[in-house]
């Protein structure tokens, strides 16, 4: 769901960059020295997870897992996902340079929102109920990201409206897959290492 250079209108690109910078600053503020290794290694894990391709019918999709990133990292998901997008642009040629801000915003804001809304609920409930909430978070994050990508395109010009609608419809199966995976991942993590979600506990200001 990368937007490339040259597609968006300047106000959208600049607005996205400013908001993303704000989000990154929020995320960094909460990262003390003690938490940097955990945040760094988790941000590398989400980069690796985004390379995983999951079969769907005759095709396959790559994972985004921004909902899970938000649940685990809280506000730190902003800088973590920014770092991932930067590395992808520089070394893989995915996305673009001037659109780094808006791409970060589109992926990280839904991540942080799902973390803030559902994190406390998951912590309170039993593993099975927690997994259901996590699944909702995973679906919400992908859905919101898709809507934000569609909105960025539509704000840039009416000619993108069909493309934006297509992006949304095409991602409905991705939402389902991400929901299932996020639910399973959170269920396992709660069973194996319940304090995974506390690794960056203070990271939610």
């Amino acid at each position: 769901m990368h937007i490339v250079d040259g597609a968006l209108a300047n106000p959208v690109v600049i607005g996205g960059a400013v908001l993303a910078a704000g989000g990154i600053a929020m995320g960094l503020r909460s990262l003390t020295l003690e938490k940097i290794p955990a945040a760094g290694v988790l941000s590398a894990s989400f980069f690796v997870a985004s390379l995983i391709h999951v079969p769907i019918g005759p095709s396959s999709v790559h994972l985004i897992l921004n909902g899970l990133a938000g649940l685990v990292l809280g506000w730190a998901a902003f800088p973590a996902l920014f770092v991932g997008l930067l590395l992808q642009a520089v070394f893989f040629g995915f996305g673009g340079l001037t659109v780094l801000g808006i791409n970060t915003l589109n992926i990280a804001l839904p991540a942080v929102l799902s973390g803030l809304m559902l994190g406390p609920l998951i912590a309170r409930s039993s593993p099975v109920t927690g997994a259901v909430w996590a699944g909702i978070g995973g679906a919400f994050a992908i859905g919101a990201t898709t809507l934000m990508v569609a909105a960025s395109l539509m704000l840039s010009g009416d000619e993108f409206v069909p493309a934006a609608q297509f992006v949304f419809v095409a991602h409905i199966p991705v939402m389902v897959i991400e929901a299932l995976l996020t639910a399973a991942a959170v269920y396992l993590a709660r069973q194996v290492k319940p304090d995974l979600f506390n690794a960056l506990q203070g990271a939610r200001p």
Binding site: S43, P79, V90, F92, L188
Partner: protein
């Protein structure tokens, strides 16, 4: 260490004669250069100018003597992402008709818009991959630090660079373990649950690893400072690079915004 982020390095090492000039340019100049080029190209919208900008990126690729095929292949991978949007554009922008397919009319204006986006995106990404993507990832971190990127963000970047390779190996080990137990990915609940457990396990292991890392760093007196391994110095090569870049951008912008029709 075979690192996923720098596969080109190995190819570069074989014939680094030509890439030598690129290595002599300060990493900071290369990052700034790529960024300036990106902003200038995004500001342009004339097809001739964008074509020229893309030609400049191609020339840069040739001059850097990078392996051409793999680099262009990566660029094409990005085009795969946006192909659908580009194909759709001629049909959604109103204007002079080229052809009518199943009741939908493609317009020249829409085609021009699609070509514009494709040229911009490819010119920027190619220049970025040649100028910045050829750096050691760690050098990129140090250069961004020297360019005043916040220290904690640089730490996060460095940790990602360092552990992406390690964690990917761990992922592949887990996949092998699944495979020898007869796991074959299909479109079903079992597959998605197994992948979810796989991701969950990766996160658990990542956090446990980070605890060991923190211990090791504390033991060595880590204080949050980034020790500069590289002392960056601007040389004559940077002046030449900067002059060449500014000249190119001036020509591009003059052609775009100049007083001609």
């Amino acid at each position: 260490m075979a690192h996923i982020l720098s596969p080109r390095r190995a190819a570069l090492a074989q014939g680094d004669e030509g890439a030598g000039w690129l290595d002599r340019i300060d990493p900071r100049s290369r990052i700034l250069g790529a960024s300036l080029f990106a902003v200038a190209v995004v500001a342009c919208s004339r097809l001739e100018v964008l074509g020229l900008a893309f030609a400049c990126s191609l020339a840069l690729l040739l001059a850097a003597r990078l392996p051409i095929r793999p680099t262009l292949k990566r660029m094409a991978a990005m085009d795969g992402f946006i192909l659908f949007m580009l194909v759709l554009l001629p049909f959604t922008v109103p204007g002079e008709a080229i052809v009518t397919l199943w009741g939908f009319t493609a317009s020249w204006q829409g085609l021009a818009r699609a070509v514009e986006i494709a040229l911009t995106a490819n010119a920027v990404v190619l220049a970025l991959m040649v100028l910045v993507g050829t750096m050691e990832p760690v050098t990129l971190g140090h250069a961004l630090h020297a360019l005043k990127m916040p220290e904690r963000l640089v730490h996060l970047l460095m940790f990602s660079i360092r552990y992406i390779g390690t964690l990917r190996e761990e992922y592949l080990r887990l996949r092998v373990a699944m495979k020898i137990r007869g796991f074959r990915p299909r479109t079903n609940w079992h597959t998605y649950r197994s992948y979810g457990y796989l991701v969950g396990m990766m996160l658990v292991r990542a956090v446990e690893r980070s605890e060991r890392i923190l211990g090791a760093m504390k033991c060595r007196g880590f204080s949050g400072r980034i020790t500069m391994l590289h002392s960056f110095r601007l040389t004559r090569a940077d002046l030449a690079f900067g002059a060449g870049l500014c000249g190119t951008l001036a020509v591009l912008l003059l052609l775009e915004f100049g007083p001609w029709p």
